[in-house]
């Protein structure tokens, strides 16, 4: 039996693993992905000690540190978690693991636009990853849907390849002022505010997007960056307290309403969703697990002592 199972291998889960290893907790990380959503970020300029680093490189450094501390990371998807009195059973398709405590750090999944043509043209002009696919759109016209940090950084990256980049924003920009300034200064980028994509059309590949206002734009590629939803389906049996939008509610120790179950990172209800905040929540979660296990060990010791 493990002391701690960490579900999720992004900034929150990997930092939790680093702290758990240093507290000598017997720990395993189970993750669907290598490095989480952060690994697909084009440029990260607000993670302390790096002026600018791409997500993939940063996350490889996290992974290396965890591996050097000998915490195993297995790449499987968790199907279900069951809780009995003082034990969690975590099931993947291949394996069953048991632990005293669990930290949920599985992050979020990308939101779809849900418009006609979106699914049909994935990989033929529709993309959810500018860092992956921007180079395919050299000297072409592209559009980005969304107004947050991810949308604006995607547009800036695309502007290095494409001849023209539209940003289609439902209301107004929600990104950091530094990104907004760069976008506004960039002559290749044209923001279209208070607009929405209603349909993506084309034959073999994307050719046009239709907007709510009735306007039609000729584009070769459309990058969808409209946020994400927490990935909590596999714990639906546990009656976890969550916000209206599905984010897990924790106390200041990152513990959920279920004893022994913790959550950290983008999966939690929190005002700022950044790599640095995810990492910090992961550290707090592992510290709380350590404190709880230590306290419970003392309680068990004193019970045995009183009996004798």
């Amino acid at each position: 039996m493990y002391d701690l199972i960490i579900i999720g291998g992004g900034p929150a889960g990997l930092t939790a693993a680093i702290y758990a290893a240093r507290y000598k907790l017997k720990t395993i990380v189970i993750s669907k992905t290598r490095g989480g959503l952060a690994a697909s970020a084009h440029a990260i300029c607000n993670y302390p000690s790096y002026d600018r680093i791409d997500g993939l490189n940063l996350m490889e450094k996290f992974i290396k540190q965890v591996e050097e501390l000998k915490v195993p990371i297995i790449y499987e998807e968790v199907g279900k978690i069951d809780k009995s009195e003082n034990k969690f059973t975590v099931k993947t398709k291949e394996n069953i693991f048991e632990s005293k405590k669990v930290i949920l750090a599985g992050g979020t999944e990308r939101t779809k636009l849900n418009v006609k043509g979106e699914k049909e043209f994935i990989g033929r002009g529709v993309s959810y990853c500018a860092t992956c696919d921007a180079p395919f759109f050299k000297n072409k016209i592209t559009a980005v849907a969304g107004g947050g940090n991810a949308a604006l950084t995607s547009a800036l990256l695309l502007s290095e390849f494409s001849s023209k980049v539209y940003i289609i924003v439902r209301s107004k920009f929600r990104a950091e002022p530094s990104w907004i300034e760069l976008v506004e200064k960039n002559s290749k980028i044209e923001p279209l505010l208070k607009e929405e994509i209603v349909e993506i059309t084309g034959n073999e590949k994307v050719e046009k997007i239709k907007l709510k206002s009735g306007k039609e734009l000729d584009v070769d590629g459309i990058f969808i960056e409209i946020g994400s939803v927490p990935d909590t389906n596999f714990v639906s049996n546990l009656r976890l307290e969550a916000s209206e939008r599905g984010y897990i509610i924790t106390d200041e120790n990152q513990e959920t309403n279920i004893d022994g179950l913790y959550a950290a990172g983008d999966i939690t209800e929190s005002s700022l969703k950044q790599i640095v905040t995810a990492a910090s929540q992961g550290a707090v979660a592992s510290f709380s697990v350590y404190e709880k296990i230590k306290k419970q060990a003392v309680e068990i010791d004193s019970k045995t002592y009183n009996k004798t």
């Binding site: 669907k32 490095g35 697909s40 993939l56 990853c129 992956c132 696919d133 590949k205």
Partner: protein
């Protein structure tokens, strides 16, 4: 894992079923999905699993109309039989590969 390039692509894919993972070093999700693809190669023993770096070999990706990676293409006797685009978990990937292999 077999590494394909412009020189050996045709020879290695002209017969039987081959599944090719088109990837690039700049693509985070490609690296994130790498371990899943490699471990699935043990499950589908009858199919040849291969990787192709499209940064070094853009011509074939271009010919196949690839505009998004990660992109896995299943080839049967040299012809495209199905295509899986975008990052996904190992379980979903396994189901999608089975689906394509079963239909042929």
């Amino acid at each position: 894992m077999l590494n394909l390039n412009n020189e050996n692509f045709e020879k290695e894919t002209e017969k039987d079923s081959v599944i090719v993972d088109f990837w690039a070093p700049w693509c985070g999700p490609c690296q994130m999905m790498g371990p899943a693809f490699e471990s699935l190669s043990e499950k589908f023993e009858k199919v040849k699993f291969a990787k192709m770096n499209i940064d070094e070999n853009p011509e074939i990706a271009n010919k196949l109309g690839i505009q998004g990676i990660p992109c896995l293409i299943v080839l049967k006797d040299g012809k495209e039989n199905g295509r899986i685009v975008g990052f996904m978990s190992k379980d979903i990937l396994e189901n999608k590969i089975s689906e394509i292999l079963n239909k042929s």
